[in-house]
Symmetry: C2
C-alpha cells in the first residue's frame, strides 16, 4: 500500500527526504555567524540557479509575497504598468499593481495561447509604461511565454522588467541576466522541491537604483531593506529559519544534479508526457509544443468527465492532480511535473489516468500511453 498521496500538482511538489530532515533541525539564532554562513550559501546558490550576478533576496512568504514586493518596491502611484495577462497569475500582477495605485494597461492573451510579437511590441510602443510584468510559466494554463523576447522589448523601450518565474525556475531555462530581467521572482515549493514559505527576488542594478529612489511604500515587502541586510549576510526580519536550512540542502542537491541536467530532465519528461496524453486520445489544452510548459501539462476533460475524475484518481491511486482555475474550472486538469519528478512517477500517473478512463467506459488499451512515453524518454 502506498504510504501517502503523491503530489502531481503545480506546487507543492515532492520533497526529498534529506530536505525534510534539514527542515526539522532545531532552529538556531538568526543573528549569529553560523546562520549568516548558511544564508550566504543560499544567496550564492540562488545566483547559480537564477543565472545572475546580481543579488537574490529571500523573503519569508508565499510566491505572491515576492510578486507584491517587486511591484511595491519600484512602483510609484500613478505609474503606468503594462501587465501581460493570459492566466490567473498574469492577472495577479495586474491586481497587485492596481492595489498600489498604478494605471494598469493589460495586454490580454487568450488563455492557453501566447502573445504575437508584433502586436506586443506595438502595444508597448504606444504606451508610456516604465514597468512591464509577465509570468514566464503560467501554471493556470500550462503555457510558457517567451521571456527573452519581452526582455528585449524592456531594454529597447527602457522599462523595468518584472518576471514571475515561480513555476519555471529550476525546471526550465531561466536566464535572468541574459534576458534583461530586472526583478525575477520565484518560490520554494515548485521546481526547487521545497515546502512553501519562501520567495526569492533577483534584483538588477537598474531595479536597485529605482528601489533606492522609491520612498514611502510598504514595509515588510520593501526590497530596499532586504538588499541592505543581504550585504551583511542577514535578513531585515526574523526569517523562516527552518525553511532556510531546507533551502540550503535543496541547493546542494540541485548543484549535485547540475542545473542543466535538471532542466533537461524536465524538458524530456514534459515532451514525452504530451505525446503520451495524445496517445490516450485526450486533448492537450496547449496545442503548440513550442509554448507548452515544461513543468505542468494541462489536459482537457473529455466529454462526460469533470473534477470527479481527479477525485477518483486521488482516492484510488493516491495521486493528486490539479483542476482548472478561474474560468478553466471543470474544463481541464493539470499534471504538475516539477522538481524531483522522475519518469517512473509519470508512468504511475499515466497508468492511473488510463485505468480510471477505462472504468468510466472509455475504450482504452492499458499501457498504450506508457509505451509512447517510454519511446520519447
Amino acid at each position: 500500500m502506498q504510504t501517502r498521496e503523491k503530489l502531481f500538482i503545480p506546487g507543492p511538489t515532492e520533497v526529498n527526504e534529506e530536505v525534510l530532515r534539514a527542515l526539522s533541525k532545531h532552529p538556531i539564532g538568526h543573528r549569529t555567524e553560523d546562520f549568516s554562513k548558511i544564508l550566504k550559501e543560499c544567496f550564492d546558490g540562488l545566483k547559480y540557479i537564477f543565472r545572475t550576478k546580481n543579488p537574490v533576496v529571500i523573503l519569508s512568504g508565499s510566491g505572491t509575497s515576492g510578486m507584491d514586493a517587486a511591484i511595491a518596491s519600484v512602483l510609484k502611484p500613478g505609474d503606468e504598468v503594462i501587465c501581460i495577462t493570459g492566466g490567473k497569475f498574469g492577472e495577479r500582477f495586474a491586481e497587485i499593481a492596481e492595489a498600489y495605485g498604478a494605471r494598469v494597461k493589460r495586454f490580454e492573451i487568450e488563455w492557453g495561447k501566447t502573445f504575437d510579437k508584433d502586436e506586443l511590441e506595438n502595444f508597448v510602443a504606444n504606451s508610456d509604461a516604465e514597468i512591464i510584468t509577465m509570468v514566464h510559466n503560467e501554471t493556470s494554463t500550462g503555457v510558457r511565454h517567451d521571456a527573452e523576447f519581452v526582455g528585449k522589448l524592456a531594454k529597447k523601450y527602457n522599462m523595468i522588467y518584472i518576471l514571475d518565474c515561480i513555476s519555471s525556475l529550476g525546471g526550465d531555462y531561466v536566464e535572468t541576466d541574459k534576458w534583461n530581467v530586472d526583478l525575477c521572482i520565484s518560490g520554494s515549493q515548485k521546481c526547487l522541491s521545497l515546502p512553501p514559505g519562501l520567495s526569492f527576488v533577483a534584483i538588477s542594478e537598474k531595479a536597485k537604483e529605482r528601489i533606492e529612489e522609491n520612498t514611502t511604500r510598504c514595509y515588510y515587502l520593501n526590497l530596499k531593506k532586504y538588499l541592505k541586510s543581504m550585504e551583511k549576510n542577514t535578513t531585515p526580519f526574523t526569517p523562516s529559519i527552518n525553511l532556510i536550512f531546507a533551502l540550503r540542502k535543496s541547493i546542494e542537491l540541485i548543484r549535485k544534479e547540475g542545473l542543466e541536467n535538471r532542466i533537461k530532465r524536465h524538458v524530456k519528461i514534459s515532451r514525452a508526457l504530451r505525446r503520451a496524453i495524445e496517445e490516450i486520445g485526450l486533448e492537450l489544452f496547449v496545442k503548440d509544443d513550442d509554448i507548452a510548459s515544461r513543468t505542468v501539462t494541462s489536459v482537457k476533460y473529455p466529454k462526460g468527465l469533470g473534477d470527479d475524475f481527479r477525485y477518483e484518481i486521488k482516492n484510488e491511486f493516491k495521486i493528486l492532480l490539479a483542476g482548472g482555475q478561474s474560468k478553466l474550472k471543470g474544463k481541464i486538469f493539470r499534471i504538475g511535473h516539477m522538481g524531483n519528478v522522475t519518469p517512473n512517477d509519470v508512468i504511475a500517473v499515466l497508468s492511473a489516468i488510463e485505468l480510471t478512463l477505462k472504468r468510466r467506459g472509455f475504450n482504452i488499451r492499458l499501457g498504450k500511453s506508457i509505451e509512447k512515453f517510454l519511446e520519447y524518454i
Copy 2:
C-alpha cells in the same frame, strides 16, 4: 557534551521534538479537504490562545508581516495614528504607519519605563487619531505595558487598537476581547515554541468593518483576503504548509498543558529569575516588577563587561543569550524565557552567568543565585 546551543534569546525559542517531527512531514496539497481540516484546528486553537471569539488569520511571514498587515489593512493615507513607542518594536509600528503615509504622533516612553496613564490619556484626548498602536511586551527593553488600559482608552476615544503581542502571547496574559484589542498580532517563534515563519492576527468586528471599507492598499498583506478565505478554511495564497503542521502540534501541546498553567509557569520563572539576578549583584534594566516582562529579562552589563561576556557564555556553555538592540547595544543583555522554558533551563543559565563572572574576576559565590531562584520557584 551538550549537543547543540540552547536558545535563551527572545525568539526563536526551544522547539519540542514532536513539533519538529510534525514540521518535517511531507507537504500535502493546500487546496485539499485534509489540509482545510488542519487549518480549521489551527484557527480554533488560536482563538483559544488569543482569548477571542473573533477570527484569527494566519499569514506566512515574520511577525513584522502581521504588524504591517494590520496597519496596511485599516489605514488610509493621511490618517492620524498614535504610536506608543519606548523600544525598537514600538518604533517599528511608527515606521510602518509612516511608510503607508500616516501622520504619526509618537507617544514616546523612556526605554525601560512604561507610560503614565494620565499623560497618555491627555495625549489621546488632544488628538484626532482613529488608530492607536502599542507593543504589549517590548522585547528590546524587557518591559510589559498595560495593554488593558490602552484598550479602555481605545474604546472611550473610539480608536482602532492595534496591539503587538508577538512576544507575550502564550507566555503572558493576553485578553484580546476583554481588552478591546481590534488587531492583535503574534508570531510563531516566541511563546508558542515554533520555528519562525508564521504570523497571526486576531481581528475584531470593528476592525473587520474598517478592513472591508478600505480599498487600494497592498495585496499580499491585505487582511480582507485572509478573512474571506478563512470562511472556507483556507488561505488566499499558498501557505507555509509544514509550519502549519507544526502549529497544529504546538497548539495540541499548549492545550495539554493548559493556557493558564503555561502562563503561570512563565510568571513564576520570570519572578524567580529577577530575584536571582539581583542576588548575583547584577542590575535589572527594568526596575519595577509590575512592568517587567514575563518572557524576557534585561540585565545591565556591570562595568567592564560587554557583549564579549555573552560570546564567552555561548562558546563555553552553548547557551545563547541576546544583546541589547539599537540604543541599548553593548549596555544590556537579555535572557529569553519563552515557550518551553523550565526551571532547569534557567538554572543552567544562572550557573553559566555566575561562572563566567567569576572567571572575569567578579567576587561570586557559586550557586548563590540558584538558591535564590529555587526559593522563589
